[in-house]
């Protein structure tokens, strides 16, 4: 029952985020946009490149979708609205999201095409940049909750959400989540103008629909992760818990989508330089700061 409810919420969230993305990309608000384009995609013929690596080509979109759903399974949308409340939930989230990267590498290598391959390897480079800060930010959150269990992490924010308690960690995690979901300005894997679509360039028809759906669910999952870790999950005055979760998730997703439209795409070298020279020290400072707050101020 809870599984079904969470899945439905995820699907609704993915649809709304797709509408938001369409709005931010084209400037026109079309509520029926994703449904129409999904139907169009499913109806198109399925074009396969001449000599693809068959296994990778088929598996990549499915792995993208499966890994994001696995990551969403450990996120609580309400006090008991979680599919699998693992004791190491925060770490499992990171583990499942690492397979997003595997899926993109497969999608890059599979189609045997230059654009896709460059895009896939670029995402690997991007991962080298953001993966350390994202784990360090999670460490800061887990330190406050004294547990890796996601429900415990939300409950530790009953009074003060982590966004106010650890602002450095919040900024780091937010930007790293944007990197992971390859949203602009970090959208090296699917650079629309530069690489002709990157990893999505050789996919057509139903497989492209699955990849786009996977991408939307990834954005929703990461927004849910930001709310669970930093914005206090389901806490809020008047509405029921899940409504607050949904509202916060949508706000975060809208912020992620809007923030990138005003900054040009970051080059690989600059991206890595920023993450390693600024992001990691900031994340380490955040851990130190949270430690001081927990041990001294309490």
């Amino acid at each position: 029952m809870t599984t079904l409810a969470v899945l439905l919420m995820l699907l609704a969230g993915a649809y709304l985020v797709a509408v938001l993305e369409g709005w931010s990309a084209t400037g026109r608000f079309r509520p029926a946009g994703p449904a129409l384009s999904a139907i169009a995609l499913l109806g198109r013929e399925s074009i396969v490149p001449r000599k693809p690596d068959r296994i990778f080509f088929e598996v990549a979109p499915v792995l993208l979708l499966v890994s994001t759903m696995l990551a969403a399974a450990v996120l609580p949308l309400g006090p008991s609205l979680v599919i699998a409340d693992m004791a190491t939930g925060a770490l499992f989230l990171n583990a499942a999201l690492a397979y997003v990267m595997v899926a993109l590498v497969m999608a890059g290598w599979g189609p045997d095409s230059a654009y896709a391959m460059v895009a896939g390897w670029r995402f690997l480079g991007q991962l080298v940049g953001y993966s350390m800060p994202i784990v360090m930010a999670i460490v800061g959150v887990a330190m406050r909750a004294e547990s890796l269990q996601n429900t415990a992490i939300v409950e530790s924010q009953a009074v003060v959400p982590n966004a106010l308690y650890q602002p450095a960690g919040f900024v780091v995690f937010f930007l790293a989540a944007m990197c992971l979901a390859f949203l602009p300005p970090f959208d090296l894997p699917t650079a629309p103008g530069e690489l002709a679509g990157g990893v999505e360039s050789e996919y057509a028809g139903a497989r492209l629909a699955v990849m786009r759906l996977g991408r939307m669910v990834l954005v929703v999952t990461l927004s849910a992760a930001v709310t669970v870790f930093y914005l206090g999950g389901w806490y809020g005055p008047v509405l029921p818990g899940w409504a607050w979760s949904a509202a916060k998730m949508l706000a975060v997703a809208a912020a992620m989508l809007a923030a990138g439209r005003y900054v040009p795409r970051l080059r690989e070298a600059h991206l890595l330089a920023w993450w390693w020279k600024l992001g990691i020290p900031l994340a380490l400072f955040n851990i130190f700061y949270v430690g001081v707050l927990l041990l001294v101020v309490r």
């Binding site: 690596d53 990778f56 693992m86 004791a87 190491t88 770490l91 499992f92 497969m106 690997l124 991962l127």
Partner: protein, 171 residues
Amino acid sequence: MILQTLFLGFFGVAAVWFGVVVFRTSSMVRSALALLFSQAAIGAMFLAMQAEFLGVLQIMMMATEMSIMAIFMVMYMMDPGGLGEMEMSHQKRISIAAGVLGTLAAVGVALLADWGTVAAAPPAAEQTERLGTEMLGRSMLVFETAGVTILTAMVAATAVAIEGRGAGVSE
């Protein structure tokens, strides 16, 4: 207990099968990703043995490590796609003999030793906390040594891989 053995067996067979695929396929990227799935199966075995933190850690680390291995394979090996016919191995008989001998020795030890009784496992949340206490309490020296070793290895790998000014090779 039966369920645990079943899961262990399933993931064990998956790990071994992917491990064999690593060396039988001629496509380099398939090799690296097969190793990834073998290690993920090993991580799943950890989860089946109720070592939750270790299992999740293994799965997460191996995804990143093996993808990096994939890109290094593409960089350094000829024929990364495996579409040409190349003989990639040498001293085949010695290595098969060594492999089989190693397996038989380990299996022999596993079957012939008297291992004692099987105990119950503590719950997962408590495990993480107690692992942390152990790591920062009793095994603090081990932890610090590991940290220094990691730093040394990072510096060493970077120093070896950087192109020297005019020299071109490591010192």
